[in-house]
Amino acid sequence: MTALDVRELAKSFGGLRVTANVNLAVAPGERRLIIGPNGAGKTTLFNLITGELTPDAGSVHLFGRDITGIASRRRPHLGLARTYQIITLFPRDTLLQNVVLALLGLSRLRWNPLLPLGSQRHLRELARAALARVGLEAIAERPLSETSYGERRRVEIAMALAQNPRVLLLDEPFAGLSTDERRDVQRLLASIPREVTIVMIEHDMDVALEFAERITLLHFGEVIVEGTRAEVVKDPRTREVYLGA
Protein backbone atom coordinates (compact mmCIF):
# COMPACT_ATOMS: atom_id res chain seq x y z
CA MET A 1 0.00 0.00 0.00
CA THR A 2 1.32 3.40 -0.90
CA ALA A 3 1.42 6.16 1.68
CA LEU A 4 0.46 8.89 -0.76
CA ASP A 5 -1.05 8.17 -4.14
CA VAL A 6 -1.83 10.86 -6.65
CA ARG A 7 -3.63 9.75 -9.82
CA GLU A 8 -4.13 11.75 -13.00
CA LEU A 9 -4.36 14.95 -11.05
CA ALA A 10 -5.20 17.99 -13.19
CA LYS A 11 -5.87 21.65 -12.51
CA SER A 12 -6.29 24.67 -14.74
CA PHE A 13 -6.80 28.33 -13.98
CA GLY A 14 -8.73 29.72 -16.88
CA GLY A 15 -6.65 28.77 -19.89
CA LEU A 16 -3.52 28.05 -17.89
CA ARG A 17 -2.87 24.40 -17.10
CA VAL A 18 -0.91 24.29 -13.84
CA THR A 19 -1.15 20.61 -13.14
CA ALA A 20 -1.34 18.16 -16.02
CA ASN A 21 -2.15 14.53 -15.35
CA VAL A 22 0.28 14.13 -12.50
CA ASN A 23 0.81 10.67 -11.13
CA LEU A 24 2.76 10.17 -7.94
CA ALA A 25 3.12 7.14 -5.71
CA VAL A 26 5.09 7.50 -2.49
CA ALA A 27 5.86 4.40 -0.45
CA PRO A 28 5.51 4.41 3.33
CA GLY A 29 8.62 5.78 4.99
CA GLU A 30 10.03 7.06 1.72
CA ARG A 31 11.91 10.34 1.33
CA ARG A 32 10.61 11.85 -1.89
CA LEU A 33 11.95 15.03 -3.42
CA ILE A 34 9.98 17.12 -5.89
CA ILE A 35 12.04 19.45 -8.02
CA GLY A 36 11.45 21.64 -11.00
CA PRO A 37 12.06 25.20 -12.16
CA ASN A 38 9.99 28.10 -10.88
CA GLY A 39 6.41 27.90 -12.01
CA ALA A 40 6.54 24.17 -12.52
CA GLY A 41 3.50 23.71 -10.35
CA LYS A 42 5.13 22.17 -7.29
CA THR A 43 3.35 24.19 -4.62
CA THR A 44 0.13 23.89 -6.58
CA LEU A 45 0.54 20.14 -6.38
CA PHE A 46 0.91 20.38 -2.62
CA ASN A 47 -2.19 22.58 -2.44
CA LEU A 48 -4.11 19.98 -4.40
CA ILE A 49 -2.91 17.20 -2.11
CA THR A 50 -3.88 19.09 1.06
CA GLY A 51 -7.20 20.10 -0.40
CA GLU A 52 -6.67 23.85 -0.38
CA LEU A 53 -7.26 23.64 -4.11
CA THR A 54 -9.87 21.44 -5.70
CA PRO A 55 -8.61 19.43 -8.68
CA ASP A 56 -10.41 19.53 -12.01
CA ALA A 57 -9.76 15.85 -12.43
CA GLY A 58 -7.93 12.99 -10.76
CA SER A 59 -7.73 11.76 -7.21
CA VAL A 60 -5.60 11.78 -4.09
CA HIS A 61 -5.25 8.75 -1.83
CA LEU A 62 -3.79 8.58 1.65
CA PHE A 63 -2.83 5.06 2.74
CA GLY A 64 -5.37 3.62 0.38
CA ARG A 65 -8.19 5.97 1.32
CA ASP A 66 -9.57 8.32 -1.33
CA ILE A 67 -9.39 11.76 0.25
CA THR A 68 -10.12 13.79 -2.89
CA GLY A 69 -13.56 14.81 -1.66
CA ILE A 70 -12.56 15.36 1.95
CA ALA A 71 -12.36 18.96 3.19
CA SER A 72 -8.85 20.25 3.72
CA ARG A 73 -9.49 20.90 7.40
CA ARG A 74 -10.14 17.20 7.93
CA ARG A 75 -6.97 15.96 6.29
CA PRO A 76 -4.66 16.76 9.24
CA HIS A 77 -6.92 14.49 11.28
CA LEU A 78 -6.17 11.72 8.79
CA GLY A 79 -2.44 12.14 9.19
CA LEU A 80 -1.48 14.71 6.57
CA ALA A 81 0.65 17.67 7.65
CA ARG A 82 2.41 20.38 5.69
CA THR A 83 4.69 23.35 6.01
CA TYR A 84 4.65 26.45 3.82
CA GLN A 85 7.19 28.28 1.72
CA ILE A 86 6.44 31.49 3.57
CA ILE A 87 6.33 30.98 7.29
CA THR A 88 2.91 32.00 8.60
CA LEU A 89 2.86 31.37 12.32
CA PHE A 90 1.45 33.36 15.20
CA PRO A 91 3.94 36.13 15.88
CA ARG A 92 2.43 37.48 19.07
CA ASP A 93 2.53 34.09 20.76
CA THR A 94 5.41 32.30 22.36
CA LEU A 95 6.93 29.27 20.67
CA LEU A 96 5.17 27.11 23.22
CA GLN A 97 1.79 28.68 22.46
CA ASN A 98 2.33 28.14 18.76
CA VAL A 99 2.93 24.46 19.25
CA VAL A 100 0.00 24.18 21.67
CA LEU A 101 -2.23 25.55 18.92
CA ALA A 102 -0.95 22.85 16.59
CA LEU A 103 -1.69 20.17 19.18
CA LEU A 104 -5.11 21.65 19.87
CA GLY A 105 -6.06 21.41 16.22
CA LEU A 106 -6.48 17.67 16.45
CA SER A 107 -7.99 17.62 19.92
CA ARG A 108 -11.68 17.74 20.81
CA LEU A 109 -10.64 20.26 23.42
CA ARG A 110 -10.48 22.95 20.76
CA TRP A 111 -14.27 23.42 21.00
CA ASN A 112 -14.24 23.95 24.74
CA PRO A 113 -15.37 27.45 25.74
CA LEU A 114 -14.96 27.02 29.47
CA LEU A 115 -11.64 25.55 30.57
CA PRO A 116 -8.64 27.86 30.68
CA LEU A 117 -6.22 26.76 27.99
CA GLY A 118 -3.25 27.81 30.08
CA SER A 119 -4.07 25.21 32.66
CA GLN A 120 -3.90 22.26 30.26
CA ARG A 121 -0.60 20.87 31.52
CA HIS A 122 -0.55 17.83 29.31
CA LEU A 123 -0.73 20.03 26.23
CA ARG A 124 2.08 22.22 27.46
CA GLU A 125 4.23 19.20 28.18
CA LEU A 126 3.59 17.67 24.77
CA ALA A 127 4.41 21.03 23.24
CA ARG A 128 7.64 21.22 25.18
CA ALA A 129 8.58 17.76 23.98
CA ALA A 130 7.84 18.77 20.40
CA LEU A 131 10.10 21.80 20.74
CA ALA A 132 12.80 19.61 22.32
CA ARG A 133 12.71 17.41 19.22
CA VAL A 134 13.78 20.38 17.16
CA GLY A 135 16.23 21.66 19.75
CA LEU A 136 14.24 24.76 20.75
CA GLU A 137 13.14 23.80 24.22
CA ALA A 138 15.39 26.39 25.81
CA ILE A 139 13.52 29.29 24.22
CA ALA A 140 10.04 27.86 24.47
CA GLU A 141 8.70 30.91 26.30
CA ARG A 142 10.11 33.41 23.86
CA PRO A 143 7.63 35.28 21.61
CA LEU A 144 7.89 34.13 18.04
CA SER A 145 8.57 37.67 16.88
CA GLU A 146 11.87 37.57 18.76
CA THR A 147 13.24 34.49 17.04
CA SER A 148 15.38 34.08 13.97
CA TYR A 149 14.06 32.84 10.65
CA GLY A 150 15.82 29.54 11.07
CA GLU A 151 14.30 29.05 14.50
CA ARG A 152 10.86 29.79 13.10
CA ARG A 153 11.34 27.23 10.40
CA ARG A 154 12.14 24.67 13.07
CA VAL A 155 9.08 25.70 15.08
CA GLU A 156 6.98 25.16 11.99
CA ILE A 157 8.39 21.68 11.57
CA ALA A 158 7.86 21.04 15.29
CA MET A 159 4.23 22.02 14.90
CA ALA A 160 3.79 19.70 11.95
CA LEU A 161 5.50 16.82 13.76
CA ALA A 162 3.49 17.48 16.94
CA GLN A 163 0.42 16.35 15.04
CA ASN A 164 1.99 12.90 14.53
CA PRO A 165 1.49 12.92 10.78
CA ARG A 166 1.83 9.84 8.63
CA VAL A 167 2.67 11.94 5.60
CA LEU A 168 4.57 15.19 5.94
CA LEU A 169 4.71 17.70 3.08
CA LEU A 170 7.57 20.17 3.32
CA ASP A 171 7.48 23.15 0.97
CA GLU A 172 11.00 24.53 0.51
CA PRO A 173 12.04 24.05 4.13
CA PHE A 174 15.55 25.32 3.44
CA ALA A 175 14.56 28.58 1.79
CA GLY A 176 16.04 31.66 3.37
CA LEU A 177 18.24 29.80 5.85
CA SER A 178 21.89 30.43 6.63
CA THR A 179 24.42 27.63 6.27
CA ASP A 180 24.31 26.80 9.96
CA GLU A 181 20.53 26.88 10.04
CA ARG A 182 20.46 24.67 7.00
CA ARG A 183 22.59 22.11 8.78
CA ASP A 184 20.29 22.18 11.79
CA VAL A 185 17.25 21.52 9.66
CA GLN A 186 19.06 18.82 7.75
CA ARG A 187 19.89 16.98 10.92
CA LEU A 188 16.37 17.45 12.12
CA LEU A 189 14.91 15.93 8.97
CA ALA A 190 17.33 13.03 9.12
CA SER A 191 16.19 12.28 12.65
CA ILE A 192 12.53 11.89 11.72
CA PRO A 193 11.60 8.24 12.03
CA ARG A 194 10.36 6.13 9.14
CA GLU A 195 6.82 6.12 10.51
CA VAL A 196 6.58 9.50 8.85
CA THR A 197 6.66 9.56 5.06
CA ILE A 198 8.20 12.77 3.80
CA VAL A 199 7.61 14.57 0.51
CA MET A 200 9.71 17.66 0.05
CA ILE A 201 9.80 20.48 -2.48
CA GLU A 202 13.18 22.09 -2.65
CA HIS A 203 15.33 24.29 -4.86
CA ASP A 204 18.59 24.00 -2.99
CA MET A 205 20.11 21.00 -4.71
CA ASP A 206 22.98 20.37 -2.29
CA VAL A 207 20.88 19.69 0.77
CA ALA A 208 17.96 18.30 -1.14
CA LEU A 209 19.83 15.65 -3.05
CA GLU A 210 21.35 14.34 0.14
CA PHE A 211 17.91 13.93 1.58
CA ALA A 212 16.17 12.35 -1.39
CA GLU A 213 15.70 8.67 -2.09
CA ARG A 214 13.42 9.12 -5.04
CA ILE A 215 12.99 12.27 -7.10
CA THR A 216 10.12 13.57 -9.19
CA LEU A 217 10.89 16.31 -11.68
CA LEU A 218 8.01 18.61 -12.60
CA HIS A 219 7.89 21.08 -15.46
CA PHE A 220 4.87 23.03 -16.67
CA GLY A 221 2.73 20.95 -14.34
CA GLU A 222 3.80 17.62 -15.81
CA VAL A 223 5.99 14.86 -14.47
CA ILE A 224 9.02 14.79 -16.75
CA VAL A 225 11.29 12.38 -14.96
CA GLU A 226 10.86 10.17 -11.95
CA GLY A 227 13.13 7.63 -10.35
CA THR A 228 15.89 7.09 -7.82
CA ARG A 229 18.26 9.92 -7.14
CA ALA A 230 20.96 8.47 -9.36
CA GLU A 231 18.56 7.88 -12.22
CA VAL A 232 17.13 11.37 -12.21
CA VAL A 233 20.48 13.07 -11.86
CA LYS A 234 21.88 11.18 -14.84
CA ASP A 235 18.79 11.60 -17.03
CA PRO A 236 19.39 13.98 -19.96
CA ARG A 237 15.88 15.36 -19.66
CA THR A 238 16.76 16.77 -16.24
CA ARG A 239 19.52 18.88 -17.79
CA GLU A 240 17.15 19.95 -20.51
CA VAL A 241 14.57 21.22 -18.10
CA TYR A 242 17.02 23.24 -16.08
CA LEU A 243 19.27 24.48 -18.81
CA GLY A 244 16.77 24.81 -21.61
CA ALA A 245 16.33 22.62 -24.66
Partner: protein, 323 residues
Protein backbone atom coordinates in the same frame (compact mmCIF):
# COMPACT_ATOMS: atom_id res chain seq x y z
CA UNK B 1 0.37 42.73 41.41
CA UNK B 2 -0.24 46.32 40.51
CA UNK B 3 -2.93 45.23 38.13
CA UNK B 4 -4.60 42.99 40.66
CA UNK B 5 -4.94 45.70 43.29
CA UNK B 6 -6.09 48.19 40.69
CA UNK B 7 -8.70 45.75 39.52
CA UNK B 8 -9.88 44.99 43.03
CA UNK B 9 -10.25 48.66 43.86
CA UNK B 10 -12.09 49.31 40.63
CA UNK B 11 -14.42 46.42 41.30
CA UNK B 12 -15.21 47.55 44.80
CA UNK B 13 -15.84 51.09 43.62
CA UNK B 14 -18.04 49.85 40.82
CA UNK B 15 -20.26 47.72 42.98
CA UNK B 16 -20.61 50.23 45.80
CA UNK B 17 -21.20 53.23 43.54
CA UNK B 18 -24.72 54.04 44.73
CA UNK B 19 -23.36 54.33 48.25
CA UNK B 20 -20.99 57.13 47.50
CA UNK B 21 -22.74 58.83 44.59
CA UNK B 22 -25.93 60.39 45.84
CA UNK B 23 -27.20 62.04 42.68
CA UNK B 24 -29.38 59.60 40.71
CA UNK B 25 -28.43 61.43 37.50
CA UNK B 26 -24.86 60.18 37.76
CA UNK B 27 -25.94 56.73 38.90
CA UNK B 28 -28.04 56.52 35.75
CA UNK B 29 -25.09 57.55 33.62
CA UNK B 30 -23.09 54.78 35.26
CA UNK B 31 -25.85 52.32 34.36
CA UNK B 32 -25.73 53.48 30.77
CA UNK B 33 -21.97 53.08 30.69
CA UNK B 34 -22.30 49.51 31.88
CA UNK B 35 -25.03 48.68 29.37
CA UNK B 36 -22.93 49.98 26.51
CA UNK B 37 -19.88 48.28 27.98
CA UNK B 38 -21.66 44.95 27.65
CA UNK B 39 -22.63 45.88 24.09
CA UNK B 40 -19.04 46.83 23.28
CA UNK B 41 -17.67 43.66 24.86
CA UNK B 42 -20.08 41.66 22.74
CA UNK B 43 -19.02 43.40 19.55
CA UNK B 44 -15.37 43.07 20.47
CA UNK B 45 -15.65 39.29 20.37
CA UNK B 46 -16.02 39.74 16.63
CA UNK B 47 -13.94 42.84 16.00
CA UNK B 48 -11.06 42.19 18.37
CA UNK B 49 -10.96 38.45 18.76
CA UNK B 50 -12.30 37.20 15.45
CA UNK B 51 -10.98 40.07 13.37
CA UNK B 52 -14.37 40.66 11.75
CA UNK B 53 -15.72 44.20 11.74
CA UNK B 54 -19.51 44.33 11.86
CA UNK B 55 -21.60 47.42 11.07
CA UNK B 56 -24.88 45.70 11.81
CA UNK B 57 -24.71 44.94 15.48
CA UNK B 58 -27.26 47.57 16.42
CA UNK B 59 -29.68 45.34 14.55
CA UNK B 60 -29.09 42.53 17.03
CA UNK B 61 -29.09 44.90 19.97
CA UNK B 62 -32.34 46.53 18.93
CA UNK B 63 -33.95 43.22 18.05
CA UNK B 64 -33.65 42.13 21.67
CA UNK B 65 -35.05 45.45 22.82
CA UNK B 66 -37.96 45.30 20.40
CA UNK B 67 -38.71 41.69 21.28
CA UNK B 68 -38.89 42.29 25.01
CA UNK B 69 -40.82 45.53 24.46
CA UNK B 70 -43.35 43.95 22.15
CA UNK B 71 -43.89 40.95 24.41
CA UNK B 72 -44.16 42.91 27.64
CA UNK B 73 -46.48 45.46 26.04
CA UNK B 74 -48.74 42.64 24.89
CA UNK B 75 -48.92 41.11 28.34
CA UNK B 76 -46.21 38.44 28.43
CA UNK B 77 -44.46 37.84 31.72
CA UNK B 78 -41.15 39.61 32.20
CA UNK B 79 -39.03 36.49 32.54
CA UNK B 80 -40.52 34.82 29.48
CA UNK B 81 -40.11 38.03 27.51
CA UNK B 82 -36.46 38.32 28.52
CA UNK B 83 -35.71 34.74 27.55
CA UNK B 84 -37.49 35.21 24.24
CA UNK B 85 -35.56 38.39 23.55
CA UNK B 86 -32.23 36.66 24.10
CA UNK B 87 -33.33 33.71 22.02
CA UNK B 88 -34.25 36.05 19.19
CA UNK B 89 -30.89 37.79 19.43
CA UNK B 90 -29.04 34.50 19.18
CA UNK B 91 -31.28 33.23 16.39
CA UNK B 92 -30.78 36.40 14.37
CA UNK B 93 -27.04 36.22 15.05
CA UNK B 94 -27.09 32.80 13.46
CA UNK B 95 -28.84 34.23 10.41
CA UNK B 96 -26.42 37.16 10.26
CA UNK B 97 -23.49 34.78 10.61
CA UNK B 98 -24.68 32.36 7.94
CA UNK B 99 -24.89 35.20 5.47
CA UNK B 100 -22.00 37.40 6.54
CA UNK B 101 -19.41 34.65 7.00
CA UNK B 102 -19.49 34.03 3.28
CA UNK B 103 -16.92 36.82 3.21
CA UNK B 104 -14.38 38.56 5.39
CA UNK B 105 -13.05 42.09 5.50
CA UNK B 106 -15.10 44.59 3.52
CA UNK B 107 -17.47 41.90 2.26
CA UNK B 108 -18.32 40.98 5.83
CA UNK B 109 -18.70 44.65 6.70
CA UNK B 110 -21.12 45.27 3.87
CA UNK B 111 -23.23 42.21 4.48
CA UNK B 112 -23.61 43.07 8.16
CA UNK B 113 -24.38 46.66 7.17
CA UNK B 114 -27.08 45.47 4.79
CA UNK B 115 -28.53 43.11 7.40
CA UNK B 116 -28.57 45.80 10.05
CA UNK B 117 -30.34 48.09 7.59
CA UNK B 118 -32.94 45.47 6.81
CA UNK B 119 -33.73 45.03 10.49
CA UNK B 120 -33.95 48.81 10.84
CA UNK B 121 -36.16 48.99 7.76
CA UNK B 122 -38.53 46.48 9.29
CA UNK B 123 -38.72 48.40 12.54
CA UNK B 124 -39.25 51.66 10.68
CA UNK B 125 -41.66 50.60 7.98
CA UNK B 126 -43.57 47.61 9.30
CA UNK B 127 -45.73 49.89 11.33
CA UNK B 128 -48.42 47.37 12.12
CA UNK B 129 -45.79 45.27 13.89
CA UNK B 130 -43.45 47.79 15.45
CA UNK B 131 -45.42 51.02 15.59
CA UNK B 132 -42.79 52.57 13.36
CA UNK B 133 -41.33 55.83 14.51
CA UNK B 134 -43.67 56.01 17.46
CA UNK B 135 -41.93 53.12 19.12
CA UNK B 136 -43.12 50.78 21.79
CA UNK B 137 -43.52 51.49 25.47
CA UNK B 138 -42.45 48.81 27.89
CA UNK B 139 -44.44 50.05 30.81
CA UNK B 140 -42.53 49.08 33.89
CA UNK B 141 -39.18 47.57 34.64
CA UNK B 142 -39.07 43.94 35.72
CA UNK B 143 -39.03 42.95 39.37
CA UNK B 144 -36.49 40.16 39.74
CA UNK B 145 -37.20 38.25 42.94
CA UNK B 146 -39.80 40.84 43.78
CA UNK B 147 -37.27 43.66 44.03
CA UNK B 148 -38.42 46.80 42.20
CA UNK B 149 -35.96 48.37 39.78
CA UNK B 150 -37.65 51.72 39.48
CA UNK B 151 -35.02 53.59 41.47
CA UNK B 152 -31.73 54.54 39.88
CA UNK B 153 -29.63 52.73 42.48
CA UNK B 154 -31.64 49.50 42.37
CA UNK B 155 -31.44 49.42 38.60
CA UNK B 156 -27.76 50.16 38.79
CA UNK B 157 -27.09 47.16 41.04
CA UNK B 158 -29.07 44.97 38.64
CA UNK B 159 -26.95 46.27 35.77
CA UNK B 160 -23.70 45.78 37.65
CA UNK B 161 -24.55 42.16 38.29
CA UNK B 162 -25.28 41.64 34.60
CA UNK B 163 -22.07 43.44 33.70
CA UNK B 164 -19.95 41.35 36.02
CA UNK B 165 -21.51 38.20 34.61
CA UNK B 166 -20.72 39.41 31.10
CA UNK B 167 -17.16 40.27 32.03
CA UNK B 168 -16.64 36.89 33.67
CA UNK B 169 -18.07 35.11 30.65
CA UNK B 170 -15.78 37.08 28.37
CA UNK B 171 -12.73 36.31 30.48
CA UNK B 172 -13.55 32.61 30.53
CA UNK B 173 -14.19 32.54 26.80
CA UNK B 174 -11.05 34.43 25.93
CA UNK B 175 -8.86 32.10 27.95
CA UNK B 176 -10.53 28.96 26.68
CA UNK B 177 -9.40 26.76 23.80
CA UNK B 178 -12.30 28.05 21.69
CA UNK B 179 -11.17 31.60 22.36
CA UNK B 180 -7.64 30.73 21.35
CA UNK B 181 -8.97 29.07 18.19
CA UNK B 182 -10.91 32.20 17.35
CA UNK B 183 -7.84 34.37 17.67
CA UNK B 184 -5.81 31.90 15.67
CA UNK B 185 -8.43 32.05 12.94
CA UNK B 186 -8.14 35.82 13.03
CA UNK B 187 -4.37 35.80 12.60
CA UNK B 188 -3.75 32.91 10.22
CA UNK B 189 -6.94 31.35 8.90
CA UNK B 190 -5.13 29.35 6.24
CA UNK B 191 -2.66 27.90 8.71
CA UNK B 192 -5.47 27.06 11.12
CA UNK B 193 -7.25 25.10 8.42
CA UNK B 194 -4.02 23.25 7.69
CA UNK B 195 -3.79 22.42 11.40
CA UNK B 196 -7.21 20.82 11.39
CA UNK B 197 -9.45 23.65 12.62
CA UNK B 198 -12.88 24.40 11.16
CA UNK B 199 -12.43 28.13 10.74
CA UNK B 200 -16.00 28.81 9.58
CA UNK B 201 -17.56 27.02 12.52
CA UNK B 202 -15.24 28.72 14.99
CA UNK B 203 -16.26 32.12 13.63
CA UNK B 204 -19.92 31.09 13.60
CA UNK B 205 -19.83 30.16 17.27
CA UNK B 206 -17.99 33.39 18.03
CA UNK B 207 -20.77 35.28 16.30
CA UNK B 208 -23.41 33.55 18.41
CA UNK B 209 -21.52 34.34 21.59
CA UNK B 210 -21.19 37.94 20.47
CA UNK B 211 -24.88 38.09 19.59
CA UNK B 212 -25.97 36.72 22.93
CA UNK B 213 -24.26 39.42 24.96
CA UNK B 214 -25.31 42.07 22.47
CA UNK B 215 -28.84 40.85 23.17
CA UNK B 216 -28.28 41.12 26.91
CA UNK B 217 -27.23 44.72 26.45
CA UNK B 218 -30.28 45.39 24.29
CA UNK B 219 -32.49 43.88 26.94
CA UNK B 220 -31.02 46.08 29.67
CA UNK B 221 -31.35 49.07 27.37
CA UNK B 222 -35.03 48.37 27.01
CA UNK B 223 -35.51 48.11 30.76
CA UNK B 224 -33.54 51.28 31.34
CA UNK B 225 -35.40 53.52 28.89
CA UNK B 226 -38.68 51.59 29.06
CA UNK B 227 -39.08 52.59 25.45
CA UNK B 228 -37.74 51.54 22.07
CA UNK B 229 -37.79 53.23 18.68
CA UNK B 230 -36.14 52.54 15.31
CA UNK B 231 -33.32 54.93 16.18
CA UNK B 232 -31.87 52.17 18.36
CA UNK B 233 -31.25 50.03 15.27
CA UNK B 234 -29.87 52.74 13.03
CA UNK B 235 -26.50 52.56 11.30
CA UNK B 236 -25.44 55.41 13.57
CA UNK B 237 -25.89 53.16 16.57
CA UNK B 238 -23.78 50.43 14.97
CA UNK B 239 -21.11 52.98 14.23
CA UNK B 240 -21.24 54.27 17.77
CA UNK B 241 -20.59 50.93 19.37
CA UNK B 242 -17.84 50.25 16.85
CA UNK B 243 -16.28 53.53 17.90
CA UNK B 244 -16.41 52.39 21.52
CA UNK B 245 -14.55 49.22 20.64
CA UNK B 246 -11.95 50.92 18.49
CA UNK B 247 -11.29 53.84 20.80
CA UNK B 248 -10.79 51.67 23.84
CA UNK B 249 -8.59 49.16 22.08
CA UNK B 250 -9.65 45.89 20.55
CA UNK B 251 -6.98 43.65 22.00
CA UNK B 252 -8.05 43.64 25.62
CA UNK B 253 -11.10 43.01 27.76
CA UNK B 254 -10.96 46.38 29.47
CA UNK B 255 -10.56 48.27 26.19
CA UNK B 256 -14.22 48.13 25.12
CA UNK B 257 -15.28 49.08 28.65
CA UNK B 258 -13.06 52.13 28.58
CA UNK B 259 -14.32 52.96 25.12
CA UNK B 260 -17.92 52.72 26.27
CA UNK B 261 -17.22 54.98 29.23
CA UNK B 262 -15.46 57.44 26.97
CA UNK B 263 -18.20 57.62 24.37
CA UNK B 264 -21.06 57.78 26.88
CA UNK B 265 -19.25 60.46 28.86
CA UNK B 266 -18.58 62.48 25.76
CA UNK B 267 -22.12 62.06 24.56
CA UNK B 268 -23.50 63.23 27.89
CA UNK B 269 -21.12 66.13 28.25
CA UNK B 270 -21.29 67.02 24.61
CA UNK B 271 -25.06 67.15 24.49
CA UNK B 272 -25.03 69.55 27.44
CA UNK B 273 -22.87 72.04 25.55
CA UNK B 274 -23.02 71.10 21.90
CA UNK B 275 -26.18 70.18 20.14
CA UNK B 276 -24.42 68.24 17.46
CA UNK B 277 -23.22 64.94 18.88
CA UNK B 278 -22.88 63.28 15.49
CA UNK B 279 -20.29 65.79 14.39
CA UNK B 280 -18.14 64.98 17.40
CA UNK B 281 -18.70 61.26 16.96
CA UNK B 282 -17.69 61.45 13.34
CA UNK B 283 -14.66 63.59 14.08
CA UNK B 284 -13.39 61.22 16.77
CA UNK B 285 -13.97 58.30 14.43
CA UNK B 286 -12.00 59.97 11.68
CA UNK B 287 -9.21 61.06 14.03
CA UNK B 288 -8.75 57.62 15.52
CA UNK B 289 -8.73 55.89 12.16
CA UNK B 290 -6.27 58.33 10.65
CA UNK B 291 -3.97 58.17 13.68
CA UNK B 292 -3.80 54.38 13.71
CA UNK B 293 -1.39 53.62 10.90
CA UNK B 294 -0.88 50.04 11.96
CA UNK B 295 -4.44 49.28 11.06
CA UNK B 296 -7.68 48.67 12.82
CA UNK B 297 -7.62 45.05 13.69
CA UNK B 298 -6.33 43.49 15.79
CA UNK B 299 -3.91 46.11 17.08
CA UNK B 300 -4.81 48.06 20.15
CA UNK B 301 -4.80 51.81 19.76
CA UNK B 302 -1.26 53.08 20.02
CA UNK B 303 -2.36 55.99 22.11
CA UNK B 304 -3.61 53.71 24.83
CA UNK B 305 -0.90 51.14 24.71
CA UNK B 306 1.43 52.76 27.15
CA UNK B 307 -1.36 53.36 29.62
CA UNK B 308 -2.57 49.79 29.48
CA UNK B 309 0.89 48.35 29.67
CA UNK B 310 1.50 50.10 32.96
CA UNK B 311 -1.89 49.41 34.42
CA UNK B 312 -2.28 45.85 33.40
CA UNK B 313 1.26 44.39 33.59
CA UNK B 314 -0.69 41.63 31.87
CA UNK B 315 -1.94 38.99 34.28
CA UNK B 316 -2.92 37.35 31.02
CA UNK B 317 0.59 36.93 29.74
CA UNK B 318 1.68 35.72 33.15
CA UNK B 319 -0.70 32.82 32.71
CA UNK B 320 0.74 32.15 29.30
CA UNK B 321 -2.11 33.64 27.33
CA UNK B 322 -2.00 35.68 24.16
CA UNK B 323 -3.45 39.19 23.94
Amino acid sequence: MRARTAAAIALAALVSLPLWVANPYYVNIASQVLIYAIFALGLNVLVGYAGLVSLGHAGLFGLATYTVAWLVASGTGQLAAAVAALAMAVAMSAVFALLALRATGIGFLMITLALGQIVWGIAYRWISLTNGDNGINLGTRPMPFGIPLASASNFYVFTVIAFLLALAAMAVFVRSPLGASLRGARDQPRRMTALGYNVWLIRFLGFLFSGFWTGVAGLLFGYYHQFVSPQVLHLTASAEVLLMVISGGTGTLLGPIAGAALVVAMKTVASAYIERWNLVLGAIFVAIIVLMPEGLVPGSVRLWRWAWRWLLASPASAAGQRP
